[in-house]
């Protein structure tokens, strides 16, 4: 074991002595930093006139959500919302048409946004509901029909997605487990995290491809293969150490960058609404999984970390099979990109759709890990986040064994 860890340490040393590693990690860090604070940059304009900065708007919304009088989406909440918003009949975009705003737009906007801020996120949910249902007047939704409308919205989803009866029953049971009325509060941080998780991890997957591509292929290009393969541990512990290095690197990178991103999110948006149901957030509104935002964060992050480890294993497998790291990078970039385009092409075929949605890149999308399509085995139904990591685990074991064989049997010619 000590030898294995010692060799793993040297594999890390090799990785971190490459300039490409630092460039790739630096690029990911810059991206993650930008992703966290990107939403705060810039100003909000109405009719070409700057009325506020995005940062101030976020700050105001966060404060409002953290200091709600009513912290549940119940009739009382909707009544208060309607009362508060009564004096502002127009939408946010149409505010400049109000005679009261003429010549006083900035001041009028500030008054408007002070009232609107606690309900901004809820209006987004209601708009999502309307988009799906169609003939729905948002103004008429209140604490008495909000949950009925949501159920109707979900029914339409199930019809549109041609879910099986077993899946529909499963989702209905899941839906019943969600405590109503929904607790409500500051979900902004979690929403931002879920929204940016996929771009962050896709960026990180590219970096992992660049960093791990030389794992085996680099031994060939540096002509170290003859030396390492003729050494005592070259055909066993070294290969184990390489696999351990690749997988642990992917895991640490996933956790490291996620923690950095979460710290940023906490600083900007706050994570105080951790115990809200995911249905109170934009990313979880269409889902039936009965978990809170913190639990869903764990699920989404776990799936993304597993997907990144899977990507890392594929990179290492290609590296063991191919002669140069460059070829490995090209293949892996294509593999990372492909699901983004394939998901729409495969939408008509359930099997292909499930297959594409189970690819690592698809698993970076928080919403898709608990989406409506389920894997049915006998009387049991499983979400993507339940069965895909198990499949990854098996595939990682198979590919690790295969890579092991490839490098062990590599012939120096």
């Amino acid at each position: 074991m000590r030898e294995l860890l010692n060799l793993t340490g040297y594999e890390y040393k090799k990785i971190f002595q490459k300039r490409s590693t630092w460039i790739a990690l630096g690029a990911v860090l810059l991206w993650v930093l930008f992703a966290g604070i990107g939403g705060t940059l810039g100003e909000y304009y109405i009719e070409g006139e700057k009325v506020d900065s995005h940062y101030q708007m976020i700050k105001q919304e966060r404060y409002a959500l953290e200091h709600l009088e009513v912290q549940e989406l119940n009739p009382e909440f909707f009544e208060k919302m309607q009362e508060d918003m009564a004096e502002f009949s127009e939408t946010m975009e149409g505010i400049s048409d109000n005679p009261k705003a003429q010549g006083n737009l900035i001041q009028y906007w500030k008054e408007y946004y002070k009232v609107y801020a606690p309900y901004s996120a809820l209006y987004t949910l209601l708009a999502m509901m309307k988009n799906r249902i169609g003939d729905l007047d948002i103004e008429e939704i209140d604490g008495t029909n909000f949950y009925e409308n949501r159920d109707r919205m979900m029914e339409l989803f199930f019809q549109g997605e041609e879910l099986s009866e077993q899946e529909i029953i499963f989702h209905e049971k899941e839906n019943e487990k969600i405590k109503t009325p929904y607790a409500y509060g500051n979900m902004l941080g979690f929403d931002s995290y879920f929204k940016m998780q996929a771009p962050n991890f896709i960026f990180l997957a590219f970096a992992v491809a660049v960093i791990l591509a030389p794992m085996y292929a680099g031994e060939r290009t540096s002509r170290m293969d003859a030396l390492v393969l003729s050494s005592r541990y070259g055909k066993n512990k070294l290969i184990q150490a390489k696999i351990l290095t690749g997988l642990s690197f992917a895991l640490f990178a996933a956790l490291g960058f996620s923690i950095i991103f979460l710290l940023e999110i906490q600083a900007v948006y706050g994570l105080s609404g951790w115990n809200l149901p995911i249905q109170a957030s934009v990313e979880g509104f269409y889902l039936n999984l009965p978990v809170n935002l913190l639990e869903f964060l764990g699920i989404a992050l776990g799936c993304s970390a597993a997907a990144l480890c899977m990507t890392a294993m594929i990179v290492m497998f290609c590296s063991a099979k191919m002669k140069t790291p460059f070829g490995v990078i090209i293949i892996c970039f294509a593999f990372i990109f492909a699901p983004i385009f394939l998901v729409n092409l495969a939408a008509d075929n359930r099997f292909l759709y499930m297959l594409v949605c189970s690819l690592p890149t698809s698993m970076y999308y928080a919403r898709s890990v608990a989406y409506h399509h389920l894997l049915s085995i006998g009387n049991h139904c499983f979400y993507f986040f339940q069965w895909v990591p198990a499949v990854y685990f098996c595939l990682i074991a198979v590919l690790a064994g295969w890579s092991y064989r490839c490098f062990k049997n590599h012939q120096i010619q």
Binding site: Q17, E219, R223, D225, A226, L227, S230, S231, L238, I412
Partner: protein, 289 residues
Amino acid sequence: MELIFDRVTKQYKNKLAVDRVSLSLKQGVYGLLGANGAGKTTLMRMMCGVLKPDSGEILYDGRKVEEEAYRDILGYLPQEFGYYPDFSAMDFLMYLASLKGIPRKQARGTALELLELTDLSPVAKKKIKTFSGGMKQRLGIAQALLNDPKVLVLDEPTAGLDPKERVRFRNLISRLGTERIVLLSTHIVSDVEHIADVILVMKGGAIIHQGSFSEIIQVIDGKVWECTADSKTAEELSKAYPVLNIREGQNGTLLRLVCQEKPAETAVSVVASLEDLYLYYFSETEQGK
């Protein structure tokens, strides 16, 4: 301590690189001589377990060379010595010591000794990418000795070394050969001549001669001649006999050649060297005859 090659064969597409080689190597220094493409490197790679023979097997004391136990007693300097450019010499040796299963503390002491032996102590902490060709080669020799190997395989170890370094290296190998099997290949015939107990001559993938220097030199002993001739006679002699050396002098062309009988009136018999033997065997290959 015995390394046995039993009808070892390796073919690359339509080229037979090693052709049914059967050998038995015991303690001592073996020099492998052969032209480019003779199969020396392929034979050495198979001996180190990094290339599988198509047929036949190589056994060390009855154990296959693919086994970990064999790799544990093996030291190998490949022809194309690879390295990690950003590692320092010390890091590189410590890494290879880990690969060879040497405990860290012991490895450190051995690495320092070997750096001293190969005159690399002053640059132990410098990155290998800053090293000259000779320094890299010395580092390669050092790494091959890390685990005090019982079988030491050195493929062109003196390439890139200056004459002083070569002499030092030859002396080192001579000492090492007293308690292990050392197989080295080189194009520098004098290295083999000085240190090899047994010389193996390889041609067309087969070992065509093996024995001590005095044994194998008998092939051309008394058949090496030197003479000075005018340019016309020199050209005729060159066509008639294998020429070992040719040099233009003040009195005409000085020729060194191999033939059974005195090739010219002015020819004098000279003592044959290993280089003469090498050129005698491999001039045909070079000339494509």
